[in-house]
Subunit: 142 residues, 2 copies
Amino acid sequence: MFEKYVKLLKENSIKITPQRLEILKYLDENRTHPTADQIYTGLKEKNPSLSKTTVYNSVETLEEHGLIQSLTISGSESRYDFRNDMHHHFLCKKCGTIIDIDIKCPNIGKMLESGHKVEEVHGYFKGICKDCMKKETKQNGS
Amino acid sequence: MFEKYVKLLKENSIKITPQRLEILKYLDENRTHPTADQIYTGLKEKNPSLSKTTVYNSVETLEEHGLIQSLTISGSESRYDFRNDMHHHFLCKKCGTIIDIDIKCPNIGKMLESGHKVEEVHGYFKGICKDCMKKETKQNGS
DNA sequence: TTGTCTGCAAACGTTTTGCACGACC
DNA sequence: GGTCGTGCAAAACGTTTGCAGACAA
């Protein structure tokens, strides 16, 4: 059940706690880029003693060790992503869904010439997602 | 003094108020991507009656009409940018400076194929800026 | 055992809200 | 006179902090 996450934590020399395992598992199984509050609410029922502080502490630790990523695409609140490889995100302004985007930008290499040391790249696209576009078309008739 | 900003507001059919003119001018003259609080503090001395609420209201209006852009690159607080053309940003994790980045990503075109309607593109790069890199090299000796 | 992690409550910083007043067509 | 903008105070929201007790190694 949790072997995968135990392994992940061990490999990164992070102490294993039930909370960290639960949070990691939650993020792995919920690739919806949840907020800290969503993680908390999602786990609270089966782990009534869980506190929001622990959620914040855990995602911070996991992020520092590069196991997960945090996103600031939706303004007010941070979102967390189990995927830790470089990829980008699309936020639908209508339904709020955040979709992974896997395009590459060859010009990012140009950043090297600028003299700045780039450690992170976040591409945030915003607009109306495919599904919401379809719904709009239906409503407007054809 | 303010003709430029009066013109900008008129062109976008936004009502002209002294506060909006001051804020627009501040953003034009301070291309440091200031926060709402920095705008407020920067203008408060010469406009003692200015309120923070008005700063928030104004930047919201200006952004809605596409005159300015808001950034969520630095987590906790929104930052505002007079530039409204598509460009990207680099945040130095050491000194906090935000630098405009003018590279193009030709693959953004691929987003069209995805079926999502893209209205905004924000490229956030994070790392250590050129100046901080120099300082680090000096400290470590050669 | 030793240091780290958890969970509670309180504090914090940013942003939003409700509302009365004032400015402008 | 009615709409819209301002500014104050209070509230809301996400997040952080301080601390005591619990737990992992």
